[in-house]
């Protein structure tokens, strides 16, 4: 039996799979909002990576309010 992923784990997997993301610091998932704090690879571009992360989360939860915070570029 493969245990189902929790919503937070699904979000974390989507964030980590986004190109340019180097680390994931915090994840918060509520009924209405999803907030993540990420570290971005310096070889990428922070605004582009953050927007891609937001899009990946929106694909999972189209009705959620999404907040993506870039906490490091290193």
């Amino acid at each position: 039996v493969i245990p189902a992923l929790t919503p937070a784990e699904l979000v974390e997997a989507a964030v980590r799979a986004t190109p340019g993301v180097k680390s994931l610091f915090t994840t918060s998932v509520t009924d209405v909002a999803i907030t993540v704090s990420i570290g971005v690879d310096p070889a990428a571009q922070a605004p582009v990576t953050a927007a891609a992360v937001a899009a990946a989360i929106r694909a999972l939860a189209p009705d959620a309010l999404v907040s993506v915070r870039v906490s490091r570029v290193a």
Partner: protein, 182 residues
């Protein structure tokens, strides 16, 4: 004073680095501010070790103490600087601490340069002009003007790449020299 939300002090972070980050402490490894401080400590440590290996005079202790104090103060997350989003249900931002770390790392990446302090002046709105002020120490013998200009250009380029800020002056002041081999 503890760093970020880790509950660990600068001295404890320094010890953790000296132990090769073992055993792993999740509160430190998962905290952006701690990681920024550790990265800065590593860059300073690397330069100090290089000077010792070359049998050169080590970095001045008072300069080092001031530098570590600056790093701890500056790399706090600070406020969120908004990044543009076309979706009204999406907010994206970069922290002031992330921008400071970016600036500091860009300066430190110039050979022979060590950033001392880094100050950012920024308004409240997207599009407001960012003013950056840096102090640096330059390797003795390195042309000071060229080093400062290289720092300025690298900082400008990194800010352009990773923020959407209107970048104003990047002022670089050379406040010290350190010995070493070119």
């Amino acid at each position: 004073m503890t760093v970020g939300s880790s509950g660990y002090t600068l001295d404890e972070l320094s010890d953790y680095l000296d132990r090769g980050r073992q055993p792993a402490i999740p509160e430190i490894d998962g905290d952006a501010e701690c990681q920024a401080v550790l990265a800065s400590l590593e860059r300073v440590g690397s330069l100090s070790r290089e000077l010792v290996v070359r049998d050169e005079q080590p970095l001045d202790e008072s300069f080092l103490a001031g530098l570590l104090g600056s790093i701890t103060r500056e790399l706090r997350a600070g406020r969120d600087i908004p990044l543009a989003s076309s979706d009204p249900d999406v907010e994206i931002a970069i922290t002031e601490g992330a921008i400071r770390e970016l600036v500091r790392a860009a300066g430190d990446s110039v050979p022979g340069v060590l950033v001392g302090s880094c100050s950012l002046e920024l308004g409240e709105q997207l599009g407001d002009e960012l003013v950056v002020r840096l102090t640096i120490s330059v390797l003795l013998g390195l042309p000071v003007h060229s080093a400062a200009e290289a720092v300025r250009q690298r900082v400008y380029s990194e800010l352009l790449r990773h923020t959407q800020l209107a970048i104003g002056p990047v002022d670089v002041t050379v406040v010290d020299v350190h010995e070493g081999t070119l």
